[in-house]
Each structure stands twice: as structure tokens, then as C-alpha cells.
Symmetry: C2
Subunit: 784 residues, 2 copies
């Protein structure tokens, strides 16, 4: 299929294809008789000698060696120890030899990092190479592979295609179920919690006037305990489950292996942890983690095995390649988005925008199928839970509610101007948010690396959040009469009978419910001061919280902050323009929606996917244009100051992420400024000794095969002609099989661009904005 | 930008990039002193010598030669005559020399086509090559280009980027305006027409009992006249404006030059023509043509010049390359979809699905922007026209109306089963539709090629449509009491006072309104027999109409047919399951929607874009899953029989379309089975004489540059090592400039895959399903 795939592009490309693959094929057809296929066929583009990608060889390898060396359960050091003895184990250990060596000195000892400034360029290289590896998203294009594929026949292709749909279906169903479970648990527990606090508060104020510290203490203790549990799950079970998981999924889809990111134990820590952290009253949402959860579910189902439980169901083995797994994971991420926001199309676009490196029509349709299934499953479960089966009004975890008021989401041409200004404000605030969070994250990387400190920080944040919220409620004098507000547990506090404390209605319910309140409460419900203080406090809390060692989504706190200041803007505009009321109706709820979009756009800087997600969550096609305008403005303004929050965290983790498009500033920068030199190359014919020593000495995962090159001439300008690429895993397999046969060809190699080259180049290029020192200081994607 | 673009993919690809572009760059850096840039630098991948693509050279060329030779206004023969005399003109004529020769013998004389069976393979090649050329979607990657780009600086890049947005904005606005104008004209005129007929009919029946032939004659005459005008516009002004235009836009986005497809005169013929053909009462819609209109608007605005009006505003000249134009045209097509269906996201996905060859995050966002602007503009215009300014309830030309009835779009798990079955029925009917339409189209190609016959056929179809509709209304005894139905002009016919003829309500209004009636009319409005007869008749009429020489959309007739039999299914199911009414509510309107989706999916076989378009048109996220299920089933069932209708017409027109993915059946088919042999190659150093003779003798638009090859050895297995590709336009430019300097290198070329190779291969491969004879018989994309 790949041959014709590559054919299906255009004339020029076709000629290239011929150059790369056809030529040897025709030669072979011409002299098919009496010649065995060379196992190390380094002819043209593809050099792999086993037939179906890296993962397959891993599987075979594992079954041969019969131990758990490769299932990533042990530390590299343990692996080294375990692998002493047999030759096979020795070879296998090559996969980790280098990691072991340098992780031991550079990473495993946090105290050593303070001396990082003195490391030379080579050591920087090693560090970058050691932490993250590239996945193998290229299909092998060689004779053996095509022969095997042809042998399998058309039926096999059809069956594989069918199972792709079946797997996507189950990904959707399970993602929907997990989302429903999380939602139901959080709803039930928080409702009980807030009811308890409310009763205490109201009793205290009414009956015994001065016992208000008791509910404060209970509130703080409950929140701290819940947050502590969430942090424990992250710190002790799966550090990868911290944060929203979106940066990790971005990296995964981009082709970087992040250890343990799609393990079942990560899913468990994430799903249970996010419930605890939302119950713990932190300024977090449960939406971001759903995306990560969906991705893990996808990886688990599609591979038919689990590394966490060390079991292998021996099904779906033909999906065990990096490429197939990536496709399913992107489906899972999309299903997660769909379940989180009730936005199946937005989910697909999210996968495409973040996945960045692939677009395939039929895959996209399958992804949409998974998303649809997820939102449908969630809808059925939640409708059933809320005792309105088949009303299907719960498509996502966060629903913006129905903007049903007459003319509610209509807007005048003049209002578009206000929206643009609010978009710019969102961009400014987003830039500020990202800056503060960046500085905090750097501080965290430098000073909070011990487990107990991480736990402590999480508990402190939880208590500060609880206490400051409580304090604001205590100090607030904003009262509203009951019956007008949709809040479940109105707290009276110092208000008169028949009234409730408005600040309490914002703090003493789940953030999702508060967002809905800000969108839908009638004009005049909130005092401007209440909104201002709330927005400021929540902004600061959200900045501090994102990056804690708990599973935490960023969308809800941003929506909440944005909705608060957006509503404030709406109230202000309504006041200023009250003379124009005959033709201009300013609904504060609409401005809350605009503010929420602006804030979100200013921080995360997503484009088309965020637009569609918000459109679907709002449920209005005609309000799409204002949302898009606002997102454009906030992104453009924010981009003047820094990158999106996810990109910042990806950079802080030192992941060599390859963006969709290079920045316009790198216009005209030649690859020669970026690439590594000298290049570690292999000849078509190599001695085992040299291969072994190269594998031991260099951490690279792939080596170009060249000819016309004398290896000892280190300072040469060119490294021979390029004949193909061989992967570390393939070399190890070949070493074991001992099957070689060289062939000739030529194409000069003068340098080599790896992910770490690009990362280093980026640091050089953005002079001073981001330092390699900080890259070195960071842990592998933990502190997100 | 392109250097770093290509870098941003992955490790292996990067090594390839180095191989292809970096090596010469480094070499050059190393010996920059005292060496002039070679103009014919055939080093590595890119061989273009002028700096910014083909189109630029055209522009320069045109201004130099100072005549209208290249603006495509003359026939090739005229051009040949006009170009006699100067050497420059002689060279220019090379672009058309071959076309002239073979078009003259093969195409321009329709009578000669009957002897086509005897043509040899080489002549087939020529035919395929002559009719369609590839566009140049690759960026030139050579030293001169990068130097010029670097010189322009960052500011230029920013300005270009800004103008991309500005142009997209205007594309959206103008597309929306055109859509609004078409809609308003059609609404006004048809309303008058049906009012006239209704008055006549009702008067005839009541007053003078037997004058019913008079309104019939008036009806037929009005429709025939209107259709005649539409057909005249197509036949005499722009043959390209026939049909929906979607196949043409598909081809254009796929990289095939279809003559005149994005001209302003095509837009005029299309926009005015579609109004006439809808007013003419044909079974056509105005939605498909909007997509074509949007594309033409995009091409017009982005290029800042018009070939139809022979004017050049000298603005936006940096967008005059095939690639930039393609990007804008895809934006225009998306804006057209958005305006047609009120589906901005569906529009983006349509562009992506049909464009097939590109996906770029920022481009996609711009396309969404254009779509949003288009739907917004249309909304504002139509709201204003309907005297409800700012209610913004007209996002598209066809609106499915609001499914507001309580629980209307809810569904039970059991119903999903019915939906699947209906999807399969849709697939069967779609396959049948495509088969009949294919046979009819072949008949048309063979027998209806004279202009007067084309006009005659259109008029006949219009009269048959009018007469059969009238006859059905006359025979129908299905009466309903007034007041229940939303139809504007209820016709009483033979019904009692206070009642109206239901069949007349389907025929005597625009098809869009009929679709809405079928979706929303209360249970029991239609007699099953009425629906059955209507569906059958409309199915046959739609099959016959699509392919006529009038601008005609296919969506509405399909929606209408599908809605009719879908509603029939709903009524049937409701009757069968009336005992289960306690838990299962069958709303016929919902089944009409499902039937419409099934019919549409079965005929056009679009996937994700159609799903999203229907979702957005329905306005319900939770009903997305059933729609998707139905579309999946209908596509899969339909694919068992034939291809989608657009693909069939693309094939009939003989366009060498490159699909997104090759069919699974071509698994393991090597390029060597497909490619041309021998290959016309050029050496790095060539005599002008040979280049001139090659350009005269061969129609190819690009030639591989090779070395190590002796040109006279025709039967060699390899044609030297590939060094790059040079385009016909570049060669002509070089011949004029007389600047050459050769360089060495190697990469063997053994064959060459062109679009026509693939088309021929496809014919060979699908044994008997589609014959090359028919390809040869067809006209360039006219008969769609």
C-alpha cells in the first residue's frame, strides 16, 4: 500500500519515489533468479531488515529472551544488573547502556544539577538525547516488508481495517465511561461537602454567632486531605499523571517517547487523582485530564497488552507499531476532548492540530467516530444518572448550558469592536499568566524536587485556596434574594433572611457550575466588586496551581477567571452605554462567554480546535465568528510576549518538540547552522565490533548508512553518500541474527539534524529567552 | 521558510533533507568566493533557475512580450498564427505547439472520435497529457530563491501573512454576498411564479371546470424559458459552469489545471445560471454551485487581476503562484460550503477532504475565518432582507429548520438499528443513482455534443419535470386541512374548501422549502402513496438532470428524495410499532432527516465533511452519531457497487485525478507497472537544439535532469541518475535568457510516473469497468 501511497501525490514527487524505491525494485525484478534477498539491504531510503517496524522486533525479542527486560518496569540501573550474563542480554542492554551511564551522573542526583552550567556542548547533546527518544513513524519501505504484506493478501487488509473501526469504537465507549465515572463521583462528593459547610456556616451565623472558624477548619482539612491523596497518587504511583497531560500528549503525538505516559497505572492515577483534586477545591478542572485518559485508554485497547499488569492478550498484534499506536492515541485524545466538552468535531481538530504530523482522510473519519461514540456514551450515562434517560442533554463534562434567553447570543456590529478589545485584554492577561507560571515552574524545578516537598506544596495550595475563598465569602457583603439563582446550596452568611451570599455561590460549588452561573445568571446578579476580587484571586490561584503535582485541568480555571472579568466588562459597558439601550443590548452573560474565550485563547494559544470546541460547547453556529475573532486577537497579542502555556511546559521539560511550522524568524536559516557535526555513520559493510562499540558509545537511535567514507577521517567535510537509515533496534536485532550483505551506492552526508540539534538551535536562536541550563535542570516532563 | 519547514518533521526525513538540499548548500558556503551562481543549477532536488515559481515567469514574460498570447483568450490555433514571426513568440508557442497539433486532430473534431478505438498507447498518452496539465504545488528549493527570500526580510513576510488574512476576509464577504443575491433573486421570482400558477389552477377548478391545461402550458413555458437561459449561459459563455462544479474544484485542488475553471465569466455564468435553473423548476439545488462560486471569487481576489476582463491591478503579486492560489481557492470553496449550508467547520473539512494534498495549521485557521465571514455575511444580508435584522437565523442557503418539537431529535438505542438499515438502503439507492447517471452521461458524451442538442435536452428535461409534477398534482387525491402546513401557496385543486393538495405543496415551492416541510410537518401530513410516488419521480428526475448543461447542485434533489423515502420509512415503522408507543416514539420528520442523510451519503460518498455539514445544518451535536452511522453504512454499501458521483464524473472527463489513498487492491503493485518507459530526460548540459526539439515533440510539463546517460540509447534499462526536475516554463525562460552552467551528480532514473500513467493504469486495473475509449470520447470536464 505504501508504494502506491507515495505515488498518489504529484508528478515531481513521483519521480523522487522512483529515485528512492523503484530503482532497486526494477533491478531486482530484472535479476530475480538465483539471488537471495540481502538481509542488511542498505539500498536506497530504507535499511530495515526485519519486516514490520521496530515494535515487532521488540515483541519477538521479548518472547525470545523470556524476561521482562524490555517492559520498562525496572530502572536502567536494575536493567544493567539484571542483564549481566548472557550475550543476548548484553546486546539488549545496549538499548540502555548510555542512558544508564549519563542518567546516573546527570539526572538521578538532583544536587549535581547545580553544576550543570559547566557542561560542554557534547554533554548537552547527551542530556537531550538521553531523556527523550523519537518514535518511528515511518513505514519501512523495503522488499521484504512488501513481500510479506503481499503474502498476507487482501483479506488481511480488510480485517485489519475492520478492526481499526472496532478498536476506535471501544476507545470511545471506555473514554465515555471513565468520564462519566469521574463526573458522577465528583458531583456526589462535592455536593455533600458543600452542603456540610453550608449547614455549619449558616448554623454558626444564626445560632452561636462566633464559631465561623470551625467550618473554616473543616473546609481546609477536607480540601487538604483530598488534595494530599491526589498528590500521593502522582508522586508515588505515576509522576506522569501530574498536570493536564495535554503537553505530554502533544509530545507523544509529535513523536517523542515520554516514559510511562500511556500506561494503565498513569490512567488510574490520573482519573482517581483528578477526582480528588477537584474535590479538594483546587482551582483545577477535570477536562484536560480527560484528554490524557482517553489517550491512555486508546493505547491500552489498541495494543492488546498491558505493561503495568505484565499481561499480553495476544490480540491485535498487527497494531503494535509506533505508527498504528499513534493513530489510535490521537483517536483517544479526540475522544477525551469530545467527552470533556461535548465537542466531537473539536476533538478531531484538536488531534489534528496537536498531532501536527499526520492527516489522513479515513483516519480522521475514524477519529470522529471515536469522538462521537465517547460523547454519546457519556451522554447516555449522565442522562441516566440524572434520571432523564434519552434526553441526551449531557454531551460533555462541562456544558455551557443553553443560551436560551431571547436574543441572548445575538450581537450588533458595534459589539464586535468590544469583543476585539476584550480579545486583546485576554492576550495580555494570558501573557502575564504564562509569565508568572513560567517563573513559578522554574522555581519549582530548582527547589521542589523532593517528594515530601511536592506533597507539602500541594497541601499548602489547597489550604490557601480554601482559606482565601472562605475569607472572601466572609468579607463579602454582596447579597441577592433567593430564587433568582441556580446555585444548589445558597449560603446565607451575614445576609438577611431570604437572601444569599453571592461570593459563596461562586466558591461553594464546583468550578463548572460557577462558570455556568456566570454565563447564565440574570443581569444584576453580581456586584462588580465581587466579580473583580473573584477574578483576581482565581487568576492568582490558577497560576499557582497549574504545575502542582496533582492531576489538574487548566481549562476550567481559565474559563472561570475569564468569565468573571468578562462579565465585569459587560456590566461596565452596560453602565457606560445605558443611553444606547434602544439599539444596543449588552447582556453580561454574553460578555462572560467572550471573556472566557479570550482568557483561554490568551493562555493556551490553540487556534482552530479551540474555536470549534467553544462553538460546539456553546451550541451556536452564528456565535462562531465572535469567538473566532476573540481567539485570534488574544493569540496574536499573547504571542508578542511568550508562547502558549503548553509549549512553555514542553520546553521546560526539555522535550525536543518539532513544531508544525518553523517561526518566520528562522527564514533563510540553513540546516547547516542547526545540524550536528561530525556524524556517526555506518558503512554498508561493518564489523560487529565497530557496531557494538558505536551502540555503546553513542545514544542515537538511528544511524545513516553511507559509502565512500573512511571512518577515521573525523574532520572531513562530508561523511560519504547517504544510502539509508538504520535504527538502533534494527542493529541490535541484526547483531543477534548475524545476517549481513552489503551493497553499493552513493549520496553524500555532511551533517545530521536530530531533535536535540533543533532544541539546542532554538535555545541559541531565542537568545536569552530560554536557557539550556533550565532545560538541564528539569525532570522528564514531571513538573507540568 | 521552506528549509526549516522541511526540517520540522522527523529525524529520518531530516537526513533526507540534508541529502537533498543541504549538501550543495554547504559546498557553496565553502566556496562562496569568486564563483557566480550557475543559472541552470541542476544540482539536487530543485532545478528551477528563476526565483519565484512558474507563475512569476509568466507574468514577466507577458509584460515583456507585450501581447495577450498567454492570457488564454485565443484558441491554440489562433495563437500559433499570432505567434509567427519573432523568436520570442516562437519560443512561447512551444507551450502550445503540441496541444495545437493533437487537439486539432483528436478533440476539436467530434466526428473523428468514433475512430478512437484504434489509437495506440502513445496516442492515448498524448490525449491524456493534452487535456490536463498539473499545477506546480512544490516550492522551488534552490539557492537563488532562498537568497531572494532572505533579502526581502522579515517585514515582507509579516506583510504577506497579514494580507493572507485580509484576502481571506474579502473572499468570505464576497462569497456571502453572492450567495445572498442568488437566494434573494430565487426566492422573489419563484414565489411570484408559484403564486401565478396557484391562482390559475384554483380559478380553473372553481370557475370554469376544464381549463387546467392552461396553467400546465404556462408552467411548462416558464420553466422551459428559464432553463433555456441557464443552458445558454453554460453553452455559449462558459461550458465549465455546467453541473455543480464540485468535481472541477476537486480536480483543481488536486492539482489539475482545468481550463477556465476559476474565471470571472465562469462565476457569472454559474451564479446567474443557477438562479435560472432553480427558477426553471429543475430538480437542482443552488448549494453545489456556491462552492464553485466561492472558489472563483477566491481566485479572482487573491490574484489581483482578471483574465476575463484583461486587467491587472498590480496588487498582491506575491500571491501569484500555483501554491498560494490553491490555498486561497480552498478557502473560497470552504466559504462556499459555509454559505450554502451554514456550516463553517464543515466547509473547512470539505476543503481538507477534497483538497487532499495539503494540511497546514495556520492555513486551516484562515480557511475557517473565510468560512465564518461568509456565513456571517450571508446571515446579516438575509436577516436584513427578511426584516429581522440581527436575529441571525439564516446562516446558510439551505436551513434544516429548528428541530424544536419536544424530544424531536432524541432517539432510542433500538432506533439506531433502523438507522443502520436505512443507511444500507441509502447506499443501494445511491449505487443505483450513480449507475443510471453514469450510463446517461456516457450516452450524452456519445450523442449530445452539438450545442443545439445540449440546449434542446435541457429544455426537454425542464418541460418533462414541469409536466410530470403537474400531472402528479392533478392525479393526487391527498388532501389536508389548511392551517397545519407551513407551505406559502397552498393549492386547492380538487380538494374541498379549507383543504389543500399535499402533492402540490411539494412541487409548487422551492425544493429547499419542500425539504423543510418533509422534516418538520406533523405526523400524518403526508399520505404514504404521495411520498412514494414523489420519491420515485424525483429520484428519476434528479438522475436525469445531473449532467445537463445547466448549473445544478445535487445536494437538494438528493436531500429531497431521501427525505421523502425516509419519511415513508418513518411512517411505516410507526405503523408497525404502534404497540410499542409507550417507550418508542417514531417521529416521521426524524426519519426524513435520516433518509436524506442516507441518500446523500450513498451518492456523493463524502465522509467527515458531510457528517459535519449535516451536523451543523441540523444544529444538534447529540444527533451527530446517528448521522455518522448512517453515512458510514451508506458509503460502505455504495462502495460495493461503484464510486461516488463526483469521482465518476471526474473519471468520465478523463481527468487524471490522484486519490488521497490508493485502493487496497493495489497493495503491492510496484511503480514499475505504472510508469512510462522510456523517459524523456535532459542532461545537465544540453544543446539548445535538443531542448527545442524535445519541447516541440513531447507534451510533458516537466523533465527530469539526469547524468550518466547517453540519450541515443533508447532501450536502456536506466536513464541516468536523477539530479532534479525542470519545468517546461522554466526551460522556455532559460532558452530566452540563454544562461547555462552544468554540474555533476548521480541518481538513476528508470521510469517516470505521470498523471496520465496513473489514469491509464487505473483503466487497466479496473478491467472493463471504465474504458479508455470513453475517456477519449469525453470533452474537458464539460458534461458534468
Amino acid at each position: 500500500m505504501r508504494v502506491v501511497d507515495t505515488l498518489s501525490t504529484c508528478l515531481e514527487k513521483c519521480t523522487k519515489t522512483i529515485k528512492e524505491t523503484k530503482c532497486p525494485r526494477t533491478n531486482m525484478t530484472q535479476r530475480q533468479d538465483g539471488e537471495q534477498t540481502p538481509l542488511l539491504n542498505s539500498n536506497a531510503h530504507s535499511t530495515s531488515s526485519h519486516t514490520s517496524g521496530t515494535d515487532r522486533s521488540d515483541t519477538m525479542w521479548r518472547s525470545m529472551s523470556g524476561n521482562s527486560l524490555l517492559n520498562h518496569r525496572m530502572t536502567p540501573r536494575q536493567r544493567m544488573i539484571a542483564s549481566n550474563g548472557s550475550v543476548a542480554n548484553d546486546l539488549e542492554a545496549l538499548e540502555y547502556a548510555y542512558i544508564n551511564e549519563s542518567v546516573g551522573t546527570l539526572i538521578e542526583d538532583p544536587e549535581a544539577t547545580s553544576a550543570a552550567n559547566e557542561y560542554t556542548r557534547i554533554q548537552e547533546d547527551r542530556l537531550l538525547n538521553v531523556k527523550y527518544k523519537s518514535m518511528d513513524y515511518d513505514t519501512c519501505e523495503n522488499k521484504l516488508f512488501f513481500e510479506e504484506e503481499t503474502k498476507k493478501g487482501y483479506k488481511f487488509v480488510l480485517r485489519k481495517q475492520l478492526f481499526r473501526w472496532v478498536v476506535m469504537f471501544f476507545i470511545g465507549v471506555f473514554t465515555g465511561l471513565v468520564a462519566a465515572a469521574i463526573d458522577i463521583v465528583i458531583e456526589t462528593v462535592t455536593s455533600k461537602k458543600y452542603l456540610l459547610i453550608k449547614d455549619f456556616v449558616d448554623k454558626c451565623v444564626k445560632v452561636e454567632n462566633d464559631c465561623l472558624t470551625v467550618p473554616l477548619l473543616i473546609f481546609c482539612a477536607l480540601n487538604a486531605a483530598s488534595t494530599f491523596l491526589a498528590a500521593c497518587l502522582v508522586v508515588f504511583v505515576s509522576p506522569c499523571a501530574a498536570g493536564s497531560g495535554i503537553p505530554q500528549i502533544k509530545c507523544y503525538l509529535n513523536g517523542v517517547i515520554i516514559p510511562e505516559v500511556v500506561r494503565i497505572k498513569t490512567l488510574a492515577a490520573k482519573a482517581i487523582g483528578v477526582a480528588f483534586s477537584v474535590i479538594g477545591g483546587l482551582a483545577v478542572g477535570k477536562e484536560g485530564p480527560m484528554i490524557h485518559s482517553g489517550a491512555v485508554i486508546a493505547a491500552g485497547i489498541s495494543q492488546g497488552k498491558s505493561a503495568t499488569f505484565k499481561c499480553d492478550f495476544r490480540i491485535l498484534e498487527y497494531f503494535r507499531s509506533d505508527q498504528e499506536k499513534r493513530d489510535f492515541v490521537s483517536g483517544g485524545a479526540a475522544a477525551g476532548v469530545a467527552a470533556a466538552f461535548g465537542a466531537p468535531v473539536g476533538g478531531v481538530l484538536f488531534s489534528l492540530e496537536e498531532g501536527a504530523s499526520f492527516w489522513n482522510q479515513s483516519l480522521t473519519w475514524r477519529i470522529l467516530f471515536a469522538s462521537m461514540t465517547a460523547t454519546f456514551t457519556l451522554n447516555v450515562m449522565l442522562s441516566w444518572y440524572h434520571k432523564v434517560p434519552w434526553s441526551l442533554s449531557y454531551p460533555g463534562l462541562i456544558s455551557f448550558g443553553i443560551f436560551e434567553e431571547d436574543n441572548y447570543l445575538q450581537y450588533n456590529g458595534v459589539e464586535l469592536l468590544f469583543f476585539v478589545v476584550m480579545g486583546c485584554i485576554g492576550g495580555l492577561l494570558g501573557g502575564l499568566f504564562n509569565y508568572i507560571n513560567y517563573k513559578l515552574s522554574v522555581l519549582r524545578i530548582r527547589h521542589i524536587y523532593r517528594r515530601r516537598n511536592k506533597l507539602l506544596e500541594a497541601v499548602i495550595v489547597a489550604m490557601v485556596t480554601a482559606a482565601s475563598g472562605y475569607l472572601l465569602v466572609y468579607l463579602s457583603t454582596d447579597c441577592e434574594s433567593l430564587g433568582k439563582d441556580p446555585t444548589e446550596h445558597p449560603v446565607q452568611m451575614f445576609c438577611r433572611d431570604g437572601e444569599y451570599n453571592v461570593m459563596a455561590s461562586l466558591f461553594f460549588q464546583t468550578p463548572e457550575a460557577s462558570v455556568r452561573s456566570l454565563f447564565h445568571d440574570k443581569t444584576g446578579t453580581y456586584h462588580p466588586l465581587t466579580l473583580g476580587i473573584f477574578a483576581l484571586l482565581y487568576f492568582l490561584l490558577a497560576t499557582w496551581t497549574y504545575g502542582l503535582q496533582v492531576p489538574s485541568g487548566l481549562f476550567i480555571p481559565l474559563l472561570l477567571t475569564g468569565a468573571a472579568w468578562g462579565r465585569l466588562c459587560g456590566i461596565g459597558l452596560g453602565y457606560l452605554l445605558k443611553d444606547q439601550e434602544s439599539w444596543l443590548h449588552i447582556y453580561p452573560g454574553k460578555y462572560a462567554l467572550i471573556g472566557a474565550a479570550a482568557m483561554l485563547g490568551g493562555v493556551v494559544r490553540m487556534t482552530i480546535s479551540l474555536t470549534v470546541i467553544l462553538m460546539e460547547a456553546t451550541g451556536s453556529v452564528s456565535f462562531g465568528l465572535p469567538i473566532m475573532l476573540v481567539l485570534m486577537c488574544s493569540k496574536w497579542v499573547g504571542d508578542l510576549f511568550n508562547e502558549g502555556i503548553y509549549d512553555i511546559h514542553v520546553q521546560l521539560a526539555g522535550v525536543p518538540f518539532l513544531n508544525w511550522e518553523a517561526s518566520s524568524l528562522t527564514y533563510g536559516v540553513p540546516a547547516s547552522r542547526v545540524m550536528s557535526h561530525p556524524v556517526v555513520t555506518l558503512l554498508p559493510e561493518e564489523k560487529v565490533e565497530r557496531i557494538y562499540s558505536i551502540l555503546t558509545k553513542y545514544p542515537h537511535d538511528g544511524f545513516p548508512i553511507v559509502d565512500n567514507y573512511i571512518p577515521d577521517l573525523a574532520e572531513s567535510a562530508t561523511f560519504g553518500r547517504f544510502r539509508g537509515m538504520i535504527l538502533r533496534s534494527q542493529l541490535i536485532y541484526l547483531l543477534k541474527s548475524k545476517a549481513f550483505k552489503p551493497q553499493n551506492g552513493e549520496e553524500p552526508v555532511v551533517g545530521m539534524v536530530t531533535r536535540s540539534d533543533l532544541a539546542r538551535f532554538r535555545v541559541e536562536f531565542t537568545k536569552g529567552k530560554l536557557h539550556l541550563v533550565e532545560l538541564q535542570l528539569s525532570k522528564p516532563l514531571e513538573p507540568m
